[in-house]
């Protein structure tokens, strides 16, 4: 989404240490922390086809290779194909009253490709029965696939049998006497058959590398190339199984399915974003976007930046919530953040140790408790539902600032958002005792704030000036359903905000 702020001038520091503009951030109401797409758990909520808007269960989607059975896309331009009707005269030419026979063909409204172009016969029914093309490599692929399935299966069984042995819940007679099945077999003189589970699957024939390739046909050098008949790279990669060289071999491609994704905070396992199940709906059941909860900072103007000179910076604060908030601008203090990160690490380590001790003699440590996985990209493994999620620990912010911000002594109040304020012409009266040095102007839930910034003296011409500060605002939590006689809880929440002010200009 391109946001009205345009280039990312103002960035907020996420708990995971990344800097992002506010529309890309989420705010977990339960842990009161900022989250971004990098540090939440991505889960597949539902799988659907974007054309026929049908939900498809994940098992079925897997069988159909994540493609819709009924919808096709154009092999020429990758847009969706539509079914068109062609009437083909009456079914019985002698009888004038007999109904007109209808046939159907696929056509692309974008590039005018049609299934008739490649000689696919028209179908008598609208829903299809479109001929599928055989994949020439299907046998080989199936062979490889089967082998991997077997390997997976045997590994799973091996793991299970290991588990059973360790637990020792079901003590069999042979276990007690120390006589294994194989030893018993030997004793009675039977040949020793390896256990069915331990049987190694037969590997498929390995692929053979070849250095010699067929010579190019003569015609390729002598005849002029007809660009109209050759397919483009995109068109070939659309059909990886046959990769057609000429346009007359382009066949309609099944449409790839889309997913609806829900995002889960890794620390408290609450959803920060959950879409509605209905594929037609673009709404969300839960959508905790940061710009609905955290005051937005926008860059208004700054005087020409010169190294070592104090200039005036004007920024705008907007309160998006229904509650009044107080904003205090504090020092950026990246050291404090680093310290906090270190503390969290220590806490985590001790926890892990305890966990590991309590888990002793059980199965090897599961993925979540491995310390190194914290920073790794969320792998597909983690997106499996109900897996204990990897907790993303806060990390250090590595962005350097090269501009000092004079921290104002006073804080200021932002009134709640009022949707009707825009249409209300009557002059609003605020009884806030504003510091005139700090507040330049205010309107409804917005305030324009003056800050004095000084780019460092050692900056050269054309250097990008980055400044930052910590914004402390009061977040009013309404999450626990308002119990009687209980005020909504208020928290001080701190966000580190970074502004890219522009480039250093020369003196006068």
């Amino acid at each position: 989404m391109s946001y009205i702020t345009g280039p990312d001038v103002v960035k907020y520091a996420c708990t995971c240490g990344l800097l992002k503009p506010i529309p890309q951030l989420y705010f977990c109401k339960h842990c009161l922390q900022i989250r971004c797409r990098f540090c939440v758990c991505h889960e597949v909520d539902s799988i659907f086809c974007g054309k026929c808007s049908e939900n498809i269960p994940s098992a079925e989607a897997r069988v159909k290779k994540n493609r819709c059975a009924n919808c096709f896309i154009c092999p020429s331009c990758q847009q969706e194909l539509s079914t068109r009707i062609a009437s083909k005269g009456p079914a019985n030419p002698d009888d004038a009253k007999s109904p007109i026979k209808k046939t159907y063909y696929l056509s692309c409204y974008f590039c005018r490709w049609s299934s008739r172009d490649v000689g696919i016969p028209d179908q008598p029914s609208a829903t299809g029965g479109w001929p599928e093309r055989e994949n020439v490599h299907i046998n080989r692929l199936q062979e490889v696939l089967d082998t991997y399935k077997q390997i997976m299966h045997s590994e799973k069984q091996q793991k299970e049998s290991d588990k059973r042995k360790q637990r020792g819940k079901f003590v069999s007679y042979t276990d007690k006497t120390g006589v294994t099945a194989s030893a018993l077999r030997k004793r009675i003189g039977l040949p020793d058959i390896p256990h069915a589970m331990l049987k190694k699957p037969k590997p498929p024939e390995p692929a053979v590398a070849k250095a010699e390739v067929d010579e190019l046909p003569e015609s390729i050098f002598t005849e002029p190339i007809k660009l109209m008949e050759v397919t483009t790279i995109e068109q070939r990669l659309m059909q990886p199984e046959c990769q057609p060289l000429t346009v007359d071999k382009l066949f309609p491609v099944h449409k790839q399915l889309s997913i609806k994704q829900s995002l889960r905070c890794r620390t408290c396992e609450h959803n920060v974003s959950k879409p509605e199940y209905n594929p037609n709906s673009v709404k969300f059941k839960i959508q905790l976007l940061a710009y609905c909860y955290i005051p937005e900072v926008r860059f208004v103007t700054v005087e020409p930046l010169r190294a070592g000179q104090t200039v005036e910076l004007i920024i705008k604060f907007t309160n998006p919530t229904q509650y009044q908030t107080t904003i205090t601008i504090l020092d950026l203090d990246l050291d404090e953040q680093a310290q906090y990160v270190e503390e969290q690490k220590l806490i985590d380590l001790t926890q892990n140790l305890e966990q590991a001790l309590s888990l002793q003699e059980k199965q090897p440590m599961s993925l979540p408790s491995l310390p190194y996985s914290s920073g790794s990209q969320p792998s597909s493994l983690l997106s499996l539902p109900r897996l204990p999620s990897v907790i993303v620990k806060p990390r250090k912010i590595f962005t350097e600032t090269n501009c000092d911000v004079a921290i104002p002594e006073s804080s200021f109040i932002l009134p709640p958002r009022d949707d009707a304020a825009e249409y209300d012409d009557s002059s609003e009266v605020h009884n806030f005792e504003d510091d005139p040095k700090l507040i330049k102007w205010r309107k409804s839930n917005k305030a324009f704030v003056k800050l004095a910034v000084t780019p460092r003296a050692d900056l050269k011409l054309g250097d990008e000036v980055v400044c930052g500060f910590t914004m402390q605002h009061i977040y009013t939590n309404v999450l626990p359903p308002a119990v009687e006689n209980k005020q909504p809880q208020k928290y001080d929440h701190k966000v580190r905000v970074f502004l890219t002010l522009g480039k250093v200009v020369g003196s006068e």
Partner: protein, 178 residues
């Protein structure tokens, strides 16, 4: 510019609000929407039968700079069954039959359009060329492909317009006989 003179054949539907300039001949069955503009600047324009010229479409007969100031006045002949969709700008010096100019496309004055071509929405064709028959141009990169058949004529749509347009707009009276 030549004086305005319009020849409209019976069966054509030309809305009075449409902007016509110069010497224009409109064939039978052709529909010209109220805010279409047809400007015969360099010479007469002859529009064939059963063409559909939609809102905001601009057909301009304008010569390239290097061909101006010649003695003979060229005539822009537009064939039959052409569709000029909303907000297209066409300056081609010659147009055949059964072409579709989709919305917001632009065809420059050096491009000769033959028969059965489709110029996709938003495509800009400016280089000097002759478009082969049954070509369709589509996409932001103006990809070209050749179809085996000409685009399907919009008969249903034209029939509806023939009925509906006279209910809401003043129509220029046909002034030519067969």
């Amino acid at each position: 510019m030549a004086r305005n003179s319009f020849k409209i054949f019976p069966g054509a539907l030309v809305c009075e609000e449409s902007k016509l300039r110069g010497d224009i001949t409109v064939g039978a069955g052709t529909i010209i929407h109220p805010s279409a503009s047809i400007i015969a600047e360099a010479g007469p324009i002859i529009i064939g039968e059963n063409c559909l010229i939609e809102e905001q479409a601009k057909i301009i007969h304008r010569l390239p700079f290097d061909q101006q100031n010649k003695d003979n006045t060229p005539v822009l002949i537009i064939g039959s069954h052409n569709v000029f969709e909303v907000d297209c700008t066409i300056e081609a010096p010659k147009i055949g039959n059964n072409n579709v100019f989709e919305s917001k496309c632009f065809v420059g004055n050096k491009v000769t359009v033959s028969n059965g071509c489709t110029i996709g929405a938003g495509c800009r064709i400016t280089d000097e060329q002759i478009l082969k028959e049954n070509i369709s141009i589509f996409g932001s990169k103006c990809q070209i492909r050749e179809s085996i058949d000409k685009p399907v004529p919009q008969i249903l749509q034209m029939e509806t317009l023939m009925k509906i347009l006279p209910n809401y707009h003043h129509i220029r009276k046909p002034n030519k006989k067969h």
